[in-house]
Symmetry: C2
Subunit: 238 residues, 2 copies
Amino acid sequence: MTVDSGNETPAPKVPAKDPWELPDVSGLVVGVLGGTGPQGRGLAYRLAKAGQQVIIGSRAADRARATADRLGLGVQGADNTETARRSDVVIVAVPWEGHGETLEALRGELAGKLVVDCVNPLGFDKQGAYALKPEEGSAAQQAAALLPESRVTAAFHHLSAVTLEDPEVESIDTDVLVLGDSRADTDLVQALAARIPGIRGVFAGRLRGAHQVEALVANLISVNRRYKAHAGLRLTDV
Amino acid sequence: MTVDSGNETPAPKVPAKDPWELPDVSGLVVGVLGGTGPQGRGLAYRLAKAGQQVIIGSRAADRARATADRLGLGVQGADNTETARRSDVVIVAVPWEGHGETLEALRGELAGKLVVDCVNPLGFDKQGAYALKPEEGSAAQQAAALLPESRVTAAFHHLSAVTLEDPEVESIDTDVLVLGDSRADTDLVQALAARIPGIRGVFAGRLRGAHQVEALVANLISVNRRYKAHAGLRLTDV
């Protein structure tokens, strides 16, 4: 099989919707679970800077509020439960180790919400990073299994927290791969990603294809070591 | 874990070798197993056009020779056995279905050779492409298990055969991710990839990280469908 295989499918009978025609998400409240960690903090900072209303969630509300105060930009802090309840879109940026437990406890609050999983299950040994394969297939599929009443997508895996948090970096040279089973939901997450200057949100398949996108972070870590870089990803010809 | 985790490792005691200092591979003979398929044919065409001596391998020598004659550029054709024996570097571009069997039969001829696996184990159903997970972890790791006396690497997974074969395309806007456990071998494959105008060969980790690189082709197929593209991949900040 080659990368062209998808082009063998017959043309659809109705003209396809323009894939770059994305909804206006500027009015949505975005919660970031694990928002006190580097990845969550970096995403909160960038989205708030772009004008999004952001709530940082943490197990401890006071830690979340302290991080929110440091970020400024109107960012608020709350415990995970309140963050989930008050947000339209909830980004999951908790460590893989606490992923299942955190989401299971929030099942009620996350019902009906758009959940964006950006967790990368990785292990480390003397040879560097390697991908872990969750029983459900991926972290995102674990989220979908634990949150049957939520709309689960996956995105924001490959962003460098160092770059996200660096106020000197005006524009981030990377694409965000967005995965999910509902077009309306992935369109919305693509639009959210595109709020950050330099970033495009690109649809990259159904949730069942999330494992390799999560796991690719292990390779990017190897790239970063070899090239002393904070590598990002761009899709060409798109 | 975030993509920055690799940067936490302590600095090495000796200055690191420049990762872009790559060997001269212009004198190496490159065999392409499965060279009559679109991917193999496209790679053979591009490498020969760059001045590399290329032998196309196929189960049937006459089919290989017919393809080689059509390509011109000094490309030769032979059966897989002779191709393996006469080549310094052997690119494996056979269908996943015949991968293990083909390699097992060539164990002797491939001993000591540099093998570059570019096979993507994929399945297809009504929802599109999905990744298959070989028992050994990946196609490349299966090759390594079957060829204990060869130097096995993985590369060239994400190139569009349509683009490779299009004579109108002068430069290919993509990076080739190269994986392997020996620096000398991955350097050599990176140099080979860089023979093709537009392409950079970028080290992307050990062979154990090959599954997600192979599997990502399923996502690129989704991208190609949605955006009517022949998507490639670039690493930024590298």
